[in-house]
């Protein structure tokens, strides 16, 4: 019983780290631009397909795909901002929201058209390897995913907290007009927020592929949890996304350990609802 609990917690922490990094990108976009990017999961899907192609046809280590997908997603994010979001900055929020939703549907169906609906899989030599820590064993592929996620989360946190760019992004998030008066190019900050937020997924995609399967709707699977994590942690807060991700990961993993089937998916949302009832602004609202 205790063993199962420990195993569940370990799995939860590892999965939660991945939720956290996906949520961090999303919260950065929301925090700075106040736009909910429904297409966030689809960028993850793009990164995963790039990884699949490189691993299957280039016979390369899937992790090398990080070198390709991070810059590519950065450019895609910047492009999406310039072409689709910037013209809508003055429009009502609902228009911006619907635009990102449209991008999401477009990307999913493009992927369906190009790759068909079959779930694709990449097998690496270390797919079945695992690490034992006492009574708990964790798959190597998931440990790598968790480690990469943590690096990115801390990287974004460091960026926001210590660098000038980070300060400018936070300023644009806090008060758009005041930031402009201070000489910050707010529109460029928006573009950078989206581009950086989306390029985080360029790290997540390659580390997810060895243990998850790639299909056009894989983004949607992770997007919902990412949204819940962002709101739980406080929209705009990186530390909130980090801790929120870990909490949701552990709750979901432990509850699936002890509750049958779909019931096991309920507790994480119950926790979410309860937390919001008592702290509607989220865990770390207002802080990066």
């Amino acid at each position: 019983m205790l063993e199962l609990l420990l195993q569940g917690t370990a799995n939860g922490l590892v999965t939660g780290a991945v939720f956290a990094v996906i949520a961090v990108g999303l919260t950065l976009v929301f925090g700075v631009m106040r736009i909910v990017n429904f297409a966030h999961g689809e960028f993850l899907m793009i990164a995963m397909y790039i990884t699949y192609l490189m691993a299957t046809f280039g016979k390369l280590n899937p992790y090398l795909a990080i070198l390709v997908s991070v810059p590519l997603l950065f450019l895609l994010g910047a492009g999406m901002f310039g072409l689709l979001i910037r013209p809508l900055l003055a429009a009502p929020e609902i228009s911006q929201l619907l635009m990102t939703m449209g991008v999401s549907i477009l990307l999913q169906n493009l992927a369906l058209l190009i790759f068909k609906g079959d779930p694709l899989s990449v097998i690496v030599p270390w797919s079945s390897a695992s690490v034992r820590l006492g009574p708990v064993s964790v798959a190597v592929t998931r440990l790598v995913a968790a480690a990469a996620s943590l690096v990115v989360v801390f990287g974004i946190y460091w960026l926001l907290k210590t660098t000038d760019l980070g300060r400018m992004l936070r300023a644009a998030a806090q008060n758009r007009d005041a930031a402009q008066l201070m000489g910050i190019n707010v529109t460029r900050m928006y573009m950078l927020a989206l581009a950086i937020g989306v390029s985080c997924l360029g790290v997540v995609g390659p580390v997810l592929v060895p243990w998850a399967y790639v299909s056009p709707d894989v983004g949607a699977v992770f997007t919902l949890t990412a949204f819940v994590t962002v709101v739980l942690g406080g929209m705009g807060s990186v530390s909130g996304a980090f801790f929120g991700g870990l909490i949701l990961g552990v709750v979901s993993s432990v509850s699936q350990m002890f509750m049958p089937g779909t019931y096991g998916l309920i507790p994480q949302y119950l926790v979410f609802i309860l937390l919001l009832l008592f702290r509607p602004e989220g865990l770390f609202s207002g802080r990066i």
């Binding site: 779930p119 190597v140 699977v221 350990m257 049958p260 089937g261 779909t262």
Partner: protein
């Protein structure tokens, strides 16, 4: 109040009576023409998962249907209907029950199909069957195992796929046989079922039948198909002391298990399911890691059935991969429908239903199914046979029952027991 038509009262037509008669006769014969000239197509509606996690098996079925339709049309169509050609309309239900129900309605009312086939997922077949019954349209279930499908008293539903209670019995007997061969009698099993109509049906049947076969269920788990994370289930099975794991899942779950179970210390060759959840070419892409995986199904290309080689080759040419049981049942299903259409000689849905209910087929391409006679019982169920397959050297081989096995069961991985660490 009746009055004579004015034209009849007032004046004669300027055209002579003979001419009028000839024109009237010509018009009348034109109205009768359609019955004598080339007959309209027979439209068959297929509801399949063409997108989503089960797309590979949707593609298998579509290819099976299309192959049969092409062959039948090339041979002259349905002779009893004046050479009418078969036309297949495929609609994608995406694996979602509500979409399936809506499409059933659309395909019958808009596409005007005479017969519905499908749908690969019990969770979708159940609501579809309610619609086809309400609209009095024959529904030939070529793939969906849940017991409730033929237990709902539906008159227009017929199934050539196996029934969960029969398949689960075969699985448990097969697992016991594997244990005998490995020299370790199986007494403790773990159940792992996905939680839609498919999994729920199998779960209930496993629970009912295991005690009668001397098997104790030491762990009983369910999960949502498509979950990217099955490590909780793996940990529980490992801790339970089970010697074999049986259950129900779809291909994406099998891929997840092949990747994650070994790293959790579970022997994947002792984790078996039925049908497309294991017998899908996508599993073979896992290479060495899929070697030794066992599962159960109704058909495999290496079975000694008439016409198998020719069928398998044509199928592989069309889809690019070998046919599995889903592709074969789709193919056989359409050939069965051809017989039905020939014997009914009409597109009247009630006539088709009657013909399906009484039909007996013992020859022809439909006999690619491993059974001695194709006929349906009072609930619309065909009596199926089952086999076990194993991944050996990158291909699915039939390993049980012994009288149809093409190669013996490979013990390399199995003999390591359920827990390998």
């Amino acid at each position: 109040m009746f009055t004579w038509p004015r034209i009849w009262l007032e004046r004669q037509s300027p055209v002579s009576p003979v001419r009028r008669f000839v024109v009237a006769a010509a018009v009348a014969s034109l109205a009768l023409q359609p019955a004598l000239v080339a007959a309209a197509d027979v439209v068959i509606g297929a509801l399949l998962p063409m997108t989503g996690g089960n797309a590979p098996n949707g593609a298998q079925k579509k290819t099976g249907y299309e192959l049969a339709v092409e062959e039948i049309n090339a041979q002259g169509g349905i002779k009893a209907l004046g050479g009418a050609k078969l036309k297949l309309v495929v609609r994608d239900h995406e694996g979602k029950p509500d979409i399936g129900a809506r499409l059933a309605d659309a395909v019958i009312n808009d596409d005007k199909v005479s017969i519905v086939v499908g749908s690969y997922m019990s969770g979708v077949t159940v609501p579809v069957s309610r619609v086809t019954e309400r609209l009095k349209t024959p529904f030939l279930v070529t793939d969906s195992m849940a017991d409730e499908i033929t237990e709902a008293g539906l008159k227009y539903l017929f199934r050539i796929d196996t029934k969960a209670e029969l398949a689960t019995r075969a699985m448990l007997e097969g697992v016991k046989a594997f244990g005998q061969k490995a020299g370790t009698p199986i007494t403790k099993i773990a159940l792992l079922n996905e939680d839609s109509a498919f999994g729920q049906s199998l779960k209930a049947d496993f629970e009912k039948q295991a005690p009668g076969l001397g098997l104790t269920i030491v762990e009983n788990l369910s999960f949502k198909t498509g979950s990217p994370d099955l490590s909780a289930q793996a940990a529980r099975i490992k801790a339970s002391g089970a010697q074999w794991t049986v259950g129900s899942w779809y291909i994406t779950d099998m891929l997840t298990m092949v990747k994650t179970f070994p790293s959790q210390g579970l022997n994947i060759s002792r984790v078996s399911t039925f049908g497309g959840g294991v017998q899908t070419p996508a599993l073979l892409q896992a290479g060495d890691q899929a070697e030794g995986v066992t599962g159960f199904t109704m058909w495999n290309p290496d079975l000694n059935r008439p016409g198998v080689k020719a069928f398998a080759e044509k199928f592989k040419q069309k889809l690019g991969v070998d046919p599995n049981q889903n592709g074969v049942k789709a193919y056989a299903g359409i050939w069965i429908l051809k017989e039905v259409l020939e014997r009914a000689g009409s597109l009247d849905k009630d006539k088709l239903r009657e013909t399906l209910a009484k039909i007996e087929i013992t020859s022809g391409p439909a006999m690619i199914l491993p059974t001695s006679k194709i006929s349906f019982d009072a609930t619309g169920q065909l009596l199926p046979t089952h086999i076990a397959i194993q991944v050996q050297k990158g291909a699915f081989r039939t390993v049980w029952p012994d009288d149809v096995a093409s190669t013996p069961l490979d013990m390399t991985k199995i003999k390591q027991g359920m827990v390998v660490r």
